[in-house]
């Protein structure tokens, strides 16, 4: 009654609805998951706190909680991984939760994912060490906070679509992710587009969509 779950979504867009956990009470979340479990689609809920995850863990033996990503998944269909991969690249350690949200999202939609973490521009040789492997992927997600310079660099070195995710990691003139957001939007490298600050889900979802074209 408080929510109109979008069941036709899978028919309309090819993807089942995803549950955005933030701001939902444990009861609301439990009710929505219970309802969706009766359907055939895989289930993904993002922004789920550990305690809330405990509160719903009995709903299915297949529930999996991804601690770092703060996501909850239930796989109902056997996985058929894509042949090609999505690269998920991060600048620093603090960007991990957002990057993992992207990874978990892409994986529940059956994408193969390769992680390249902590390769930011302040020590750029770490990126170069991984460049050949990144170039083999079909689409690249780049997660970075502070000055958000990494997507520009990757965009200038790789001939694949780059999805940039600014994170709110940082302090001072970072202004809750604004510095990274503006930096990524004004990137001088072509082939880069941007999703909302900390929106790992959006990046993983879009990357999966592109990967399956």
């Amino acid at each position: 009654d408080f929510a109109k779950i979008d069941n036709h979504r899978e028919i309309r867009t090819g993807y089942p609805e995803v549950i955005f956990g933030q701001g939902k009470t444990p009861e609301q979340l439990r009710e929505i998951i219970s309802f969706m479990i009766s359907k055939e689609s895989n289930i993904l809920a993002t922004r789920v706190d550990p305690e809330v995850s405990g509160y719903v863990s009995d709903l299915s033996p297949d529930i999996q909680y991804h601690k770092l990503a703060r996501c909850l998944t239930i796989r109902k269909k056997p996985a058929e991984k894509t042949a090609e991969s999505i690269a998920v690249v991060t600048a620093g350690t603090g960007d991990l939760p957002v990057a993992e949200e992207a990874c978990v999202t892409a994986e529940i939609f059956d994408n193969r994912v390769e992680r390249f973490f902590d390769v930011g521009v302040a020590g750029v040789h770490r990126l170069y060490d991984n460049l050949d492997d990144i170039r083999k992927c079909r689409v690249v997600v780049v997660v970075a906070g502070m000055e958000g310079a990494l997507p520009s660099l990757v965009g200038g070195l790789v001939d694949k679509p780059v999805i940039a995710v600014p994170t709110s990691i940082g302090y001072g003139a970072n202004f809750s992710g604004l510095s990274a957001l503006l930096g990524m939007l004004t990137s001088c490298a072509a082939g880069v587009s941007v999703v909302n600050i900390d929106n790992g889900f959006g990046a993983g979802y879009l990357a999966g969509m592109i990967n399956k074209l």
Copy 2:
């Protein structure tokens, strides 16, 4: 001497360098185009004012100036259009120049482009009339100013990647494109990513990259 033209770019990223005309003197532009004309790649210069275009028009019989898009192109290789299309959708009349920049960019990189103009949310039946055709395209560019609501709507109706382009068209609380930019970044529809305000080029380039995957 004032510019290091990036000739290896095509080898490195699969795409030739594009000339960003804004802020360059006519002399600088002429010099850069002259140099690039001696190579084999197609040439694209964006943000070129009509007068400047006149100043370089004698450089090649194949120079074409796209007035609305404010772009200049020289086709050196025969066009081999892609089988699938990019949809370019606009909300209102004022978004046309940005949309055309996206179209010209995508076309010079050999993409087939379909235009769906002036179908904004204030009269949403105009979008519905075109929905079947939009759904047939492989990737969708949505250009909108003011509240920038159109990409959310399209993203919820189409199962293809949506590249949203906020425009600076409007007045008041639009704050030079900020309202559309923030609206698009916070879009509730998944599968949407955003490029810089008025960056038709970036959208067209990325759409082409995705279309050719």
Copy 3:
């Protein structure tokens, strides 16, 4: 002494003063309600936390606490509902508290209210399913966070005044409701006006005023 209660307000504007609970101590609230209870008007207090509501619940047997709306009402005059209704429409689940504040406000002023919840633009068919019923109402309140696109859409489909309420629900480029606020202010649809972020009260009050014209 700390407050000059505006008793002539009902005479001057036709509406009794409403108590804004936020920032008031439980003692202040108790004192104000005690004073107003001795008058004949219905009483509405907004932004009242559950604990505070407990602290004043003994003041009258007729006190009612609306948990979701965080409002407290005392009805002193028998309800005479208006013949026509106010539609209250929300985009997502997170917008409910603000929407309920609008509903409770409109209802204590004797307006008939119809709720249309969770019909946001990302799954727009949910709005279409309810359109006929919304069109029958005399005025429409639309509550939405993030990109705040719903009022534009409703405004283009319905020939009634639309009062848009941006909510602070969201994260990242939402910037505490700024994205929804700017989006609604720059709406391309005519007939839309905006109240403060999260101001369900203001919307419900104004809707009631218009409904009774």
Copy 4:
């Protein structure tokens, strides 16, 4: 071709489409007006510069150009003025063009309009002198720049819906209308809603809609 004129709008919303002149070339405007002249509705074009108005003046003997409002109207149906009036109130001299845009808009939709100009809070007795007449109107439009305090004051004195229009008139911390906009949105008086900065059209249109309920 560059515009999909929304002819069903009048059927759908009860109001004909209005032409937003800003950003349109004289040729585009001429073409749109020519097309609309063949229909039966009254015509309103806003944000039309004097020169542009000259360029289309031969299209009909009934074209009227409102210099201060920068609007162009063609009345095709005989006026049937409403019984009740809309009050249009301004704070200062500089707010006149925006106020007149509201007046012309309301009038072309057959509303009776009463003007109360230059009654801002710095000399508040001027407002009091007109209060009785303002109170007789059915809805009040208040146009103000700088600190935008007038709508709060009017909202506290009048029991009618107040539509507040911030203007970009001013300098310094006015920041192109931001100070008035924020002031109006946070107004302590209930019954006040806000449209975009300088959006006289939006206020006049909404006021007319409410006036005719």
Copy 5:
């Protein structure tokens, strides 16, 4: 050692240094007060939390803690009140702590203060009831949050210097006091100047300085 107390300040500016309690540890505060108690000036410490006040209360029998104002004073010289008064005016109940900070500050510097609380523009008759008394004062401090309209109104009605204090009271488009701040800075009434958001101390200090000229 962590602080260079400005003892010559009284000689240099006629006023003893005031202690800004915010961000100081209880130990630091205790040390500073101990030191200053050995001098002859009256002592004022602002932004002192109740617990901290308990931690220093034994330092002198004359310590007084002003709960609402969150100030701590020690009077060492007998009070010689000024002949003329400072008016301290507030818009709403939430502005009280800031107003009291101004009052306590002015009073410790021997000014006579008159309080006019909760007379905001939404019910403007409350201001008019007090206007004669306000006009008798030598300088007026006006404290207001949200739209911050009260100083403009007072400035237009009273021929005395008005010191406006924006407060961070509010929500939404108030943006932590920004709406009131911008409103006051752009006030159309002459004779108004502004201090920092929530800076009751600054207003009380300056009012005292003017009152004693």
Copy 6:
């Protein structure tokens, strides 16, 4: 008709109305001045461009145009200068027009004014050279752009009210006067209050009011 000139203002506040020239047409200005010339008060019009000043210069032999201040004055009553002075201090050369607006305003209201120009903090010895003379004045106006540090320094050295005027002079992170405005509002020196960016008039008027207390 377009303006309700506030004639009772002098009775109500002790000061005649001042004409704000910005945004007024030459015709409007001429009409207002013609009307006011028939009264007995001195006349001050601010923000008057040189050309406009020429257009009204025949209205009275006593009209004086102050080029740097962009003000126009007509003195109708013999000057009776105050015994005490207002100090007007500027940081740099670019602040002169704003400072002169303050001076002309204060002088037309019969205040004695002393100018201390170009004594900014980057070469602070220039301030010290003038400190004794500044200290003799009754109130100090400090005009500064960029970082706006001068009022803090003066406020710490002088025991008189300081009225700070931020100017929009500068570039980059100055953001049209925002840097100076914020700096002055957060000044660590007590006794400082702030008027709008570039508002020399407001500072001169308030300084005069204080000077005459």
Copy 7:
């Protein structure tokens, strides 16, 4: 695995990698320090909470926790202090933690540091008392919050590079350090550059780099 520690950094830039503690779990921090302890470089970790420092204190007998600076250091090479000093200057007491972060950083890299604390512009004689000693240093770090005026003043008095550090100390129009940041960036004194808000580490590191040239 969650972090690629940049071991070649010392070879590449002459400085070992520094650990940024904020946002790292105690376990992550412990793992990183353990790893680095096996190398020869001195170790510096910034933004380490007291509890976290306890959790790693057993890793080495040489671990030192700097409470005010919230830094943790392990000295592995004997100190060889530079001949010349870095001056670290603060405006107020609240700036101490940031200043100490700068000091500890500079010292672990073997710089001699001299502290000049609480010498802000509101009582400028305190700066003058220390000017001769500051002038003897090779580079000056100036830490200040609120209006951030101190670097301008120092820059105008001292012929050495000034590194300005804005702090987030303050309230109201300080907007989390924005006022100080903008003030320092627009400083009228030449020879001043700025690091991020609260970035004591960055200032100490850069000062050390310059000191050793």
Copy 8:
């Protein structure tokens, strides 16, 4: 009289005063230069438009106008170039004027300067080609617009102080240099500090100061 030229500056700080041409009339500039020409120091005036430069060119046969840098210099003492160099690095063609302002400033103060232009991150091999030469310099100025990523990259590769200069070159989310400014301030590379947007002068001056330590 309008300017107090700071003649003791050279004694006090070791550097003569520099003339900031922006906002000065040609007459003012001529007067200042005439005065300074009578002294022994070299003269530098920045932000001088070509026309203004013509107006003063007769003042000395040694006047030199630097067109791209918009600077005017008069060398009065024979140049004694420093042994070591300052590297001035730019990201793109549009950053040239700001970079040249830095170069001309550094050179008039007798520094040896090496230019590395158009080596931005979108084609990062261009930076690598020049890295050995940059590393040989004593201090590095990096000028970049849009996302401002270049200083981070350089800071991670070079063990010298980096002075970052954000430029206002760009459009959209660049917001007049804000994106580059925030990016540089939040740079993850240590050893980087920032001057005002477009402040080539400040960077050149500071670089010279460091180079001569």
